[in-house]
Symmetry: C2
Subunit: 470 residues, 2 copies
Amino acid sequence: MDPEDFRRYGHQVIDWIADYLSEVESRPVLSQASPGDIASSLPASPPAHGEPFENMMADLETVVMPGITHWQSPNWFSYFPSNSSGPSILADLVSSGLGVQGMLWSTSPACTEMETRMLDWMAELLGLGDRFRSTGSGGGVIQDTASSAAVCVMIAARDRATGGQATRKGVSSCSQQLTAYTSSQAHSSIEKAAGIIGMGRDSLRLIDVDDSFAMKPDALREAIKADIAAGCTPFLVSATTGTTASGAMDPLEDLLEICREFNIWLHVDAAMFGTAACCEEFRWIQAGCQEADSYTVNPHKWMLVNFDCSCLWVADRGALINSLSILPDYLRNQATDAGHVIDYRDWQIPLGRRFRALKLWFVLRHYGVEGIRAMVREHVAMVQELASLIEAEPNLQLAAPCPLSLVCFSHVDGDERTRQIMEQANASGNLSLSHATLGDRFVIRFCVGQWRTQRSHVEAAWKLLKSLSA
Amino acid sequence: MDPEDFRRYGHQVIDWIADYLSEVESRPVLSQASPGDIASSLPASPPAHGEPFENMMADLETVVMPGITHWQSPNWFSYFPSNSSGPSILADLVSSGLGVQGMLWSTSPACTEMETRMLDWMAELLGLGDRFRSTGSGGGVIQDTASSAAVCVMIAARDRATGGQATRKGVSSCSQQLTAYTSSQAHSSIEKAAGIIGMGRDSLRLIDVDDSFAMKPDALREAIKADIAAGCTPFLVSATTGTTASGAMDPLEDLLEICREFNIWLHVDAAMFGTAACCEEFRWIQAGCQEADSYTVNPHKWMLVNFDCSCLWVADRGALINSLSILPDYLRNQATDAGHVIDYRDWQIPLGRRFRALKLWFVLRHYGVEGIRAMVREHVAMVQELASLIEAEPNLQLAAPCPLSLVCFSHVDGDERTRQIMEQANASGNLSLSHATLGDRFVIRFCVGQWRTQRSHVEAAWKLLKSLSA
């Protein structure tokens, strides 16, 4: 496809997306496809000869769209928001067009230097403190997801606790069993990472939570002490600033004290709700994070950046690099040898990397800090109003504290009725909801974070939920 | 940014990329930036208020472009090709616009079902055999890179050898030391993965190579026997179909026999050169791969798909899923519970995932199988001609066999002179070259794979190299 054909078809694709986004609200939010529907409309083999571009555009409508669940709908209230804002889509397009590889500074200096600067911007925006800035001994990097970030952090912490032996000689060379800690409400990626890095999922202790579903510091301390008494080496605590199920906030300052006492790496997973810290009035959610060893937030959730863009900061970049660096001869170069530059391939699992910093650059400049704050405040206000309505409704009850943009609730008649309400609401096509289990209770999660969502959408959703709950 | 603004700015970005691609050939291939140049032209803090989109577009030219190394230049001959073809850029744009999350089948069925079908298409294109097709017990998945694919494969193999104990109870619970094998010419990602999964980098044996830089089967067998005698558990051999340094092909059929004898997982890393297998006449490079346990190829290298898109196939998908699956309550859904669908989050490290199958769909349909074959054949022919010229040049010598699209050579005066030639050529701005060490020798790598590269570009490069070598 030569540049002029690219120009022509590119305009068509931009128009197709603009049209899609202008009418996404009118589509049933959840795909109505059954297993196999989409596969059965795709040929069994690739075509021998090239087809006109128009064929693919036509098939987008007929083959692909029936299998699409509309995460960009303003009526999207389930899981988490996965925002594709205009400036982010276009920055990602620039990245695809340039097609550079950012594995080393030398393979495209702008890709590395802009990323370092954008992560410093983000650290300032969220009030993460100086330890995570590139100007000191720390620094930030863009990962694909908080799951991958967790693997990297756990490896660095594992190696700090074993003097690098776990990476060089293997976990089995360590004389003591390594143990890590997170709450029973933490994201599944922490347990998955424990399996990946070879410490074993069973050696991740799931610490009890209090009534607000936040980790109990006393329970953590007891677990650590018991493990030490049993001859284990506790090496990491993963705290959550906003759990997936209910948005619960672990008490970082208390956990920090415990981690200091026992010399344990404190990781903070703020993937979903960390964005709220851009507003002074919500910064309490992560008080103490400035003294943690690592911190993750996903701009690809609530901060208008399209997937993937997960930010990870570490206070000691040397720990991360020591664990993940390998320098084969074919990647050696003057800039790396001189030690004057960052090579981000040493901060992540993959070698190759896209120019993802462009998305942060475009989004932060297009909306400005105040624009992002305004969106966050609006979403929180909408959910706070909805929570009041739920609280006042005799048939419904709030299932957890609701400090930000996620409210969990259930029907007084119990789990079956609550599930029925969710399924009926989802089947209506008018919105999307997801669920969680809190305590033993099945609860509906209602999360506002799609940037197209207006008060009218939440009001319509409430009207439906109220009638289904009557 | 509302849909109409998106349309307007989107057309501008498309035009910017079309213009860039039409004149990329005229730019110096390697960025001339010094460390800190790009960072110093970026403000220290994010803007308080939003800026006009025009600002970002203007800064692309003045701030970003000086730090760009032009991987899309037809004069790109270093490392590996990282092709951003038109249909791939546009498919990725559609993916950004739809902004769906493919973590579960239910979160967007088209994302999952198209991926399964595209990986079946790719398996047919490359002649991988039925074991890797989704219709049997195997199947394919798109990973970001072959590095991440290696981690996933090594975890699955580790768990197969330990009955799942390594993931559940940790590597240290295994009574025997786990050992893995790859050649001394294998990609660094295999050693990196060995560190990540907790087996230890030291327990990856780097097997000797023969004169063609391919793994010696006898040396592999000896190493395995020695480890077994020492009480270790050999669990994985990673073979390379086309090494990074010189494109050497490990003898898969011999390795397969050894792996069968000792019940060891055979992984095939064909990241760069596997694409050649789309042509019957090059399929010899991977004879035997049809009986391996896993296989990786990166369409984001030589197959016109922009980064990231690495295809991984396994013969036993259950092994992969057992090692990587975690089902928290908040992700449970009817389709998953019924077992009728694939949830690709169980085939990879991250939870979230982009709709990357669209890129394969657009590229395979736009070019067709014959279009891709024609490109591969042209690139191979260009390099074969260049190799003949190098061979006929008294001052230069070929450093390794050159069966495909990569030729390695050196100057007869030795390493210093060879390095000087590479540095002078790169400094000219007219092309990009990279290097490797083969044996003890510093060699220049010349790789043709950028789809814009024509014979005239290779001829001009040869003219320059010849004069620098005189």
